[in-house]
Symmetry: D2
Subunit: 150 residues, 4 copies
């Protein structure tokens, strides 16, 4: 992810979105500069105290967010943006059209990592496959989202 | 929904689930005793301050929860339970297998109502279609969830 | 469905599409002029001879087709078309973006009826919920499709 | 895939299923013995003659089939079967619960390859992600299916 885009993504998805702050997600990048999200286990995100697992809604939320980031990054990286204002305009057009989430294993862990891979980057619509793993690399959930990007 | 089941549902989905309390969902019943959820617009659930709309993750969360309630109610209502402990046991087996959410219109409103309709009630797996509307009856999102029930 | 649109729909989805002819689907309208599809049980559509049920692929195919018809009808009915050529142009832009199918009960029957209901009719994207029933009104499958319409 | 399982898979999914014969799918294995499907472009599978592309229903059908094969293979490979009859019994319990298909690019090509990867292999339910590519390795569609396996 380009440094300017990363700055915008952090601003939009981490700082300026109230529900993202509620969840406490952090937008990070790996060595190849691919974006990913990190979420700490927190009491207010639990779905079941006895099992001590994340609520399904938290899982679908974080998969939706990483999918949106990967979708908008794909679209922006195909263009030549110079100004932050131009990049931010792309974010305004971004929206989730639909999403599927598969809850594969209990959301147990001390922290969680969400990643995404673009299946298609279009002018209007992009499709992203996502995954949520815990700190032991256990695959907890998988998702597919369709995003309006233009 | 049987009165005893309703009591259990409120206990499990409204009181005992930390993330449900975070969202502030209320479990209610209509005149036909069908369960539904009510959610007030609250600052910490917003996805976009400028547009003042619910975050997509809040929408998928509430659709997942009403789907689970309709699924478990369908299974319990086919049996003859006398004891609360027996009913509660059914809840322990409940889990979302997968879900699709269609984000149809911006999640704008002062409060929101989520409803569900069972498409199939099985011994192992149930399927529920869900809807989220605002106080003006605008359809904001539609979902379909597959639930493990036995 | 407007008479001119119905004519186009039959031409495109029943006559001119090789795979539709393979399936043998018929496009019909109910008393309210809502489109629906009829499919006869035929040997070459069977998924399991012992159970004598439709193949899942046949079910997803027919749900995809009725969804597309409802989507394009919704878009056309909001405009004022006079010429068949104008209507046909709308069909060229039509495409399925994604679809979910829930296989609820075995596809057993002598004939099958597929119906659809638009959840959202947009300028670019429409969403349609679909159902497949047999001649005894048993709900066999339910679907949700997202369609590119403009 | 174990040789005995492969034999059963070919028998069930290629030879004994009328709709599979209609489509003309072939069950094959790669060097790692992972199963895949091959489908030739054929006139009766076309959705649009002008564009010369596969019908969406053909795409969802072949993704459903490879998903089912990967799901049942995953379950069987965890057990120690000796007899063909035991293996065949597992196939009888197999069924698609639900599926999502993303139509990413036009289904154009001279032949098509469908592959699948298990996300979760359960005692009751398995989840498989699938892909359809053409002979030039273009990704045409992606799917996710939930399968009853026990």
């Amino acid at each position: 992810m380009d440094a300017k885009v990363y700055e915008c993504v952090k601003e939009v998805f981490e700082t300026n979105t109230p529900f993202s702050r509620n969840l406490g997600i952090k937008v990070l990048q790996d060595e190849s500069l691919n974006p990913y999200l990190r979420l700490e286990r927190q009491d207010h995100l639990i779905g079941n105290y006895i099992q001590d697992i994340l609520h399904g809604g938290v899982i679908s939320s974080i998969l939706d967010i990483i999918g949106a980031i990967v979708a908008v990054d794909g679209v922006i990286s195909r263009m030549k943006y110079e100004q932050k204002a131009e990049i931010m305009k792309k974010f305004e057009k971004l929206g989730t059209i639909d999403m599927r989430v598969d809850y594969l294993r209990p959301g147990r862990g001390t922290y969680f990592i969400a990643t995404g891979e673009a299946m298609r980057t279009g002018n209007k619509v992009s499709v992203v496959r996502t995954k949520l793993k815990n700190e032991e690399n256990t695959l907890i959930a998988a998702g597919t989202g369709t995003y309006m990007v233009g």
